[in-house]
Amino acid sequence: MERVPILKIGDILLVSIQVDMSDETAVALQEDLAERIVATGCHGVIIDITALDIVDSFVGRMLSTIASISRVLDAETVVVGMRPAVAITLVELGLSLNGIRTALNVERGMELIAIDRADDDHHEEWDDGPVAGATASP
């Protein structure tokens, strides 16, 4: 079985899906990711699907599940790099990837997470101090 690698960049975990997802691969990815989030204490997960030609309901559900798991562990998930053809197919199929945030590319995804962290820190000013998240993205 192929495993999807999880890379840590600063405060963010980057998952680049390059293989066709099967049930086992998806479950393994969810387990690995949950463990890595806890182990590293990262607050952002970026899932890069640039290489995926087809996103069906299975992959859509997997992405939703990962987003939910991450949210429980206080990490924001952003799906990046969806191809136009994939987006059009999803719309035609009526699948809307509920609860998943998206960005055009990895860079934008990192910005998005950085902005979110800055907002969160602002709200939690008394706990963390004001500047912790603002410099998170390299």
């Binding site: 136009p84 987006a87 059009i88 719309v91 035609e92 998206t102 960005a103």
Partner: protein
């Protein structure tokens, strides 16, 4: 509807021996109908060409317009109707150009009134009908290909995606939005979003004459697809009447931002991205 070898032989002979008389009368009838929209020389050339092709075909014995032997005759007819279709003649005018031969021939035959002549005339008349129908069909086919070409050109020239600002692209939609065009617009917009990495897109519908549920559906699909890719869409250029239609039809744009003008939409996006816009005193050099 084929002419037998005997009939075609007799008619071929008739057309050859009375060539001048027939073509002249033929030309006159067509000229009267076209009222000078085709030059006399051009008309004479066309009629003579058709006459020659017809005599050739008749000379080969049995004549059937769909047979191998009549290829040349068909080519001449197709060429004629193609030319007339492109020059803007109506289908009736084009077909009557062929049917005029009947009248021309009738006048030639009037001198000889035997039963055999009548039978010949009826058989020949059937052939001319066939030729007329063939002309008609070529005419329609030419027109259809013209229309198809134009539709394709329209599709190409009507969907530009322009960059308005760093990270902001706009699609000014002009003309009626059908499924085919909506598809092209959607693909081009999404591709541009990827290529330029722009997180904001403005869809301007100032040039769309009417918005019905189907057009709204296409626009909504584009917006949802862009969102899936991580870009936000703003719809602008909604004219007062269109706003009323949208409400009357019960079309819901949900949480999609809509603005009255492109300028408003751009200002909205700039505010979202944190760009400050402010008025200042105009300066002479800048």
């Amino acid at each position: 509807m084929a002419l037998s070898a005997d009939e075609s032989g007799r008619l071929g002979e008739l057309l050859t021996s009375r060539a001048e008389q027939v073509t002249q009368r033929w030309t006159e009838i067509i000229a009267g109908q076209l009222r000078g929209r085709l030059s006399q020389a051009e008309l004479v050339r066309q009629v003579q060409e058709l006459h020659r092709a017809l005599v050739d075909a008749l000379g080969k014995g049995e004549v059937d317009l769909n047979a191998e032997e009549a290829t040349e005759l068909r080519a001449v007819l197709a060429d004629l109707s193609r030319g007339q279709a492109r020059q803007g003649f109506s289908a009736t005018e084009t077909a009557t150009g062929v049917f005029a031969l009947k009248e021309a021939l009738l006048q030639t035959l009037e001198t000889d009134q035997s039963a055999a002549t009548l039978r010949d005339y009826v058989a020949f008349s059937a052939l001319i009908d066939q030729m007329g129908l063939f002309t008609f069909e070529s005419f329609v086919r030419t027109r259809e290909s013209l229309i198809a070409d134009q539709a394709e050109q329209l599709l190409e020239l009507s969907t530009p995606v322009v960059k308005l600002w760093e990270g902001v692209v706009a699609v000014p939609l002009v003309g009626t939005l059908d499924s085919a065009r909506a598809q092209v617009v959607m693909e081009r917009l999404l591709q541009t979003l990827v290529d330029t990495g722009s997180p904001y897109a403005i869809i301007d519908i100032t040039g769309v004459p009417a918005v019905d549920t189907q057009v709204a559906q296409h626009i909504l699909k584009t917006v949802v697809a862009a969102r899936l890719m991580g870009a936000d869409c703003i719809i602008s250029g909604i004219r007062p009447q269109i706003a009323q239609t949208i409400v009357a039809l019960g079309i819901e744009f949900g949480d999609i931002a809509t603005k009255a003008s492109l300028a408003d939409a751009l200002r909205h996006v700039l505010r979202l991205t944190g760009v400050e816009t402010s008025r200042r005193q105009p300066r002479r050099e800048s």
